[in-house]
Symmetry: none
Subunit: 128 residues, 4 copies
DNA sequence: GTGGTCTAGACCACC
DNA sequence: GTGGTCTAGACCACG
């Protein structure tokens, strides 16, 4: 599992980390039940502070993507969180924002659908 | 054009404003060439700081959505910005993030495509 | 609203703070919608680090007791969180632990019920 | 006597063990004077570290629930500890915390009393 | 002024 | 070894 942080980005480091771990699970690079590196290890590998890794791990934990096992450290949850009303709302808002701007910049509906399909298909082969 | 700000959102107020103006244009609630309320006016209507409105207008201006006219104030640009490489990248990143999480939470590809279509179709009738 | 921290306690400071704020709401010392002191202010008053206060506020926020308003700082939520399955489970576990030990130490059922009633009645007059 | 450890709980393993032994006594699954499994045996059965079991046993011993007998190993004390001022204080604090949060989440006084009664009655039939 | 982020370093509890 | 807690100090975005 390779993590790439853009230190120039507006997106906070812990959030970039959180997103890449989620995508890592979706892509199958991280299996359910698999252990993640310790906060210290990962922090050193990336070259950031361990508290920043900790924050990412904790957010993922409270969203249900990770569990903290007292013996094994952070592990990918065996049962991923389900869709909630809040998530659906967040999803719709996110898409609305992206699509409205894409529309103004001349994207056609097929451009959007194709882009989404392409992304989704990278995940669709993974068995949960 | 009605603006709704969520003061408890994680999204900054100026950014919420920016997004709603973009969506307003996409929906046709704001016509190309139409004047927006003055900074002062809008700030008062929404009950926010004048600088906040200013920041939103300025961002929209530098993205090419608005022009600042000395006499008419802020007006929606007659020629909207085109798609750029940067925008395409931002679009793909945004979709990747949303879709990977949606996938993990059990959304199917059809759910996503349908959601996107539904959003896009609200715009597609508008004549630019 | 007076906060008392026991620096000798096994309970972490941020957790003591969290509990006292919850009890403060229950007692009516903190009204719904009321603003809390800023993290810096409260940290200084109690004589602890601002990050510790921040952690307490953030936990209360993610549990739904507080909102972070971009203009007013932390405010008590207008609509308190409802009971969830998780909470019910936590509640039962907490009671089970306390009562089993109390039983072994000779407490009678009436002692327990009276203690609980006494505590609850301090809250029961508050109008939400 | 069956022990169930949740390795992902926030409650330390030794504390989970300690609580379950106390509840085991309260439920009558462990009789007064009965021997507990050896540290080594129990650690192996549960699949945890030997030191962890040891810590639980030692805490129970210093609270007066267990005696360490050179020949028979750990045995449940014949005379259970009485209520102390410290314990009463801990009990009240524990209830206060649980009840205040339950109150905010909409629990009624009868919900609480019924829950407590239900728990207590599981113990009340046991002859000490 | 507010909270959010990041770094740094320390100590502790747990296993 | 692991994560959890606390402190300290810095900088930034926001309003």
């Amino acid at each position: 599992m390779i993590i790439k942080i853009d230190f120039e980005s507006e997106v906070p480091i812990y959030e970039q980390l959180r997103r890449q771990i989620i995508e890592g699970i979706a892509l199958g690079n991280l299996k359910l039940g698999e252990s993640l590196p310790s906060v210290r290890q990962l922090a050193e590998d990336i070259g950031i502070n361990l508290h920043t890794v900790n924050k990412a791990y904790n957010e993922l934990k409270s969203d249900g993507y990770l569990n903290i096992d007292r013996r094994k450290g952070a592990v990918v949850s065996e049962t991923l969180p389900e869709s909630t009303e809040d998530f659906d709302k967040k999803l719709e808002e996110g898409f609305t924002y992206l699509i409205s701007e894409a529309y103004l910049r001349g994207k056609k509906i097929d451009d959007i659908l194709q882009l989404c399909s392409g992304i989704f298909k990278k995940y669709i082969k993974i068995d949960k």
